[in-house]
């Protein structure tokens, strides 16, 4: 098809005084393939657009160059106008002669404006149509992990009218919430919270629960994932629109942190909770209980939460003396500062150390020796029980899961937010979300915020019955693809996979719904096999070429 360019110049209500518009019009008329040029004071208003429409039709224009304000503002409006005129919306190329020309410089900028129009016209010549397609969106959501956060996620999604399948590796829902003895100042016990949540899940018709089940494969993209789920010997494939991972964390006393192997009186938080729940079973009331923090992991929120809540519970129920050895108690989670004050008021003693405390045994009790930096003195404490710090770690299988998903983890092995500023709950793959403990840094406020935002994001992502995607805006040309996997490896959104075309040759394919349009693949492809319409090599180079051309 012969390229016929129409150039529409807008002088923004005659406000751009440092451009000689009649001169621009006269000069651009001579550009190659230009069949029509018009100068309007108000292209964005109705009359301006109508003039453009009739000109496009009458002059059989098939590529439109608009020299006006920044495309940020009116590109959509003009794109719709093109569609009205029967042209593909992508046949539009804009020159920003207002913000980046007239307003940006002093003195006459006619020459620069001309050059910007030339750049846009050069690019216009290479524009190809982009089709839009409705894809049907699968509204079923997969939630992986049947702990408190997973159950909450499913319930929250159900509240938004979305059906979920909840997959739990263990034989029952529950997870680790039960390991908390209680939350100071909250009447409901974790046990009660769990059982009411579990009941709500079981009674909810929108939630299908699969226990003793694992996911073994995830394919596809947002709106249409295919997931293989294994339950015992049986494997099934099912489609989901989005996936929430709430795979949680594990805690572990690291032997290297405590020279004495955990034994009778060096105990875990879990063991302490057992003691608190059945104090009558204790031979005698422990006179002194110590906690050690910040040895494995400074600034980890979870052990601090455990410690403060349990210290208060000890005070309340056993009346023991409580000492907490810590380095820099991180109290930035909501309510924790208050909890800390409360603990101090109730007589919990906090001792700050710089160097790791020495722990030994003496007369059947645990001896903790540390240099308290505030007192500036050596402190020796004999306690009946010492509650060891537990390091928060990703659960087993996290590594395998992340490599299956092609999603990176942080240096500790936890999932990270894609971008803490821009998308705090999304992962780098559209449609896949991580919430709560599997990000390693949870407290309750954060967890519930995570769950709500993930649910809302999914709702928004899948809300149209049909999602509109631009078809093959970024596209691999199969005949040029050398299957080098470079693009598959570099795509930050996991949107590229290898597929067989006509079952002959394996080539890369970009999934439209997962692609976020960054063009990293197009830049790096060593075979130049990826075309990004709108930012294709020949289009960018055409703009560059305009710089050297004499006007």
């Amino acid at each position: 098809m012969q390229v016929r360019i129409g150039i529409f110049i807008c002088n923004c209500g005659k406000s751009l005084n440092n451009i000689d518009f009649p001169k621009v019009k006269e000069r651009v008329e001579k550009f190659q393939d230009v069949v029509y040029v018009d100068l309007s004071p108000t292209l964005c208003l109705k009359e301006g657009r109508e003039g453009m429409l009739s000109a496009i039709r009458e002059r059989d224009v098939n590529r439109v160059v608009i020299a006006a304000c920044s495309p940020e503002l009116k590109e959509n409006v003009f794109g719709k106008a093109l569609e009205e005129a029967g042209l593909n919306y992508n046949f539009l190329s804009m020159a920003n002669i207002r913000e980046q020309c007239s307003w940006a410089h002093e003195g006459d900028v006619t020459e620069k404006a001309l050059e910007l129009v030339r750049m846009a016209a050069n690019k216009a010549r290479f524009l190809q149509p982009v089709e839009k397609k409705d894809i049907s969106v699968n509204k079923e959501i997969l939630v992986v992990g049947g702990g408190f956060s997973g159950m909450k996620s499913a319930l929250e999604l159900s509240g938004l009218g979305l059906r979920t399948t909840l997959v739990e590796r263990e034989s029952a829902l529950g997870g680790k919430l039960g390991e908390f003895e209680g939350f100071y100042g909250i009447e409901t016990t974790p046990e009660e919270m769990l059982s009411s949540t579990r009941k709500a899940v079981e009674e909810n018709g929108d939630i299908k629960v699969l226990t003793s089940a694992e996911i073994t494969r995830v394919e596809g993209q947002a709106g249409d994932f295919t997931v293989r789920i294994r339950t015992g010997e049986k494997q099934v494939s099912q489609s989901f629109g989005a996936i929430i991972f709430a795979t949680g964390y594990v805690t572990k006393i690291l032997p290297q942190d405590f020279e004495l192997k955990p034994e009778v009186n060096i105990i875990s938080q879990r063991k302490l909770v057992d003691m608190l729940q059945a104090p009558e079973r204790l031979e005698r009331r422990p006179g002194t209980i110590g906690f050690v923090l910040d040895v494995s992991d400074e600034n980890s929120r979870l052990p601090i939460l455990f410690t403060l809540n349990n210290a208060l519970a000890v005070k309340e129920r056993l009346g023991s003396e409580v000492y907490v050895f810590c380095k820099s108690l991180k109290v930035d989670s909501e309510g924790v500062e208050k909890l800390y004050r409360e603990a101090r008021e109730r007589g919990v003693v906090f001792l700050k150390f710089e160097e790791k405390p020495r722990i030994s045994k003496e007369d059947g009790r645990v001896k903790v020796e540390a240099r308290d930096v505030l007192l500036g003195e050596e402190v020796t404490l004999l306690c009946d029980f010492l509650v060891a710090e537990e390091k928060v770690l990703p659960p087993e299988g996290t590594e395998a899961l992340s490599s299956m998903l092609n999603i990176r983890t942080d240096s500790r092995g936890f999932y990270q937010d894609e971008n803490v500023h821009l998308y705090p709950v999304a992962s780098e793959r559209k449609g896949i979300f991580f919430v709560a403990g599997c990000k390693g840094d949870l407290d309750f406020t954060r967890t519930s915020t995570d769950i709500s935002s993930a649910a809302m994001s999914i709702y928004k992502l899948l809300s149209p019955e049909k999602a509109i995607v631009e078809v093959e805006k970024v596209k691999v040309e199969p005949e040029k693809c050398r299957a080098c996997l470079t693009c598959v490896r570099v795509c930050p959104h996991g949107a590229i996979q290898m597929v067989r075309v006509d079952t002959e040759k394996e080539v890369a394919k970009i999934y439209d719904h997962a692609c976020d349009g960054c063009g990293i693949c197009a830049a790096i492809c060593p075979a130049k096999a990826i075309r990004f319409e709108g930012y294709a090599d020949e289009q960018i180079l055409a703009e560059v070429e305009a710089i050297g051309e004499s006007l």
Binding site: N96, E99, I520, L541, I547
Partner: protein, 129 residues
């Protein structure tokens, strides 16, 4: 006009640098008019060849302008761009073009002044070449 031979091509990420340039215009913060902005969807879209072609076509300096480090809409786009700019510098050095004439700039959406400073600095650099 600063003269035909002293053009600067600025590849600007549509998430940061492009709107920053608009902002500078709206604030009427004037900057040298020899800069030509090419909008890209991410600094990671800018390829070595695009930069080389700009020099081939007579540009005297190239700026690749993307988001702040750690704030790339596409996670790795701006860090890749940085690597590529470094590589391009080495290629340009091989052909006798001084390395300082291609630069990676990271901008947050409100850094209009920084944008202008960078453009001015490049303009001065090529002026004095």
């Amino acid at each position: 006009m600063n003269g035909e031979d002293n053009k600067i091509v600025a590849f600007c990420c549509e998430h940061s640098a492009y709107p920053v340039a608009n902002k500078a215009g709206r604030m009427r913060l004037h900057y040298p008019d020899n800069v030509r902005i090419i909008c890209v969807p991410c600094a990671g879209r800018v390829d070595v060849q695009h930069i080389l072609k700009a020099f081939e076509k007579g540009a005297a300096g190239v700026l690749v302008m993307g988001c702040q480090e750690g704030a790339c809409q596409h996670l790795t786009g701006n860090t890749r761009a940085k690597e590529r700019v470094k590589y391009t510098e080495s290629l340009l050095k091989e052909v006798g073009i001084d390395g300082g004439r291609v630069r990676m700039v990271n901008l947050a959406p409100d850094m209009a002044q920084r944008f202008i400073d960078e453009v001015k600095e490049m303009a001065e650099k090529i002026e004095g070449r």
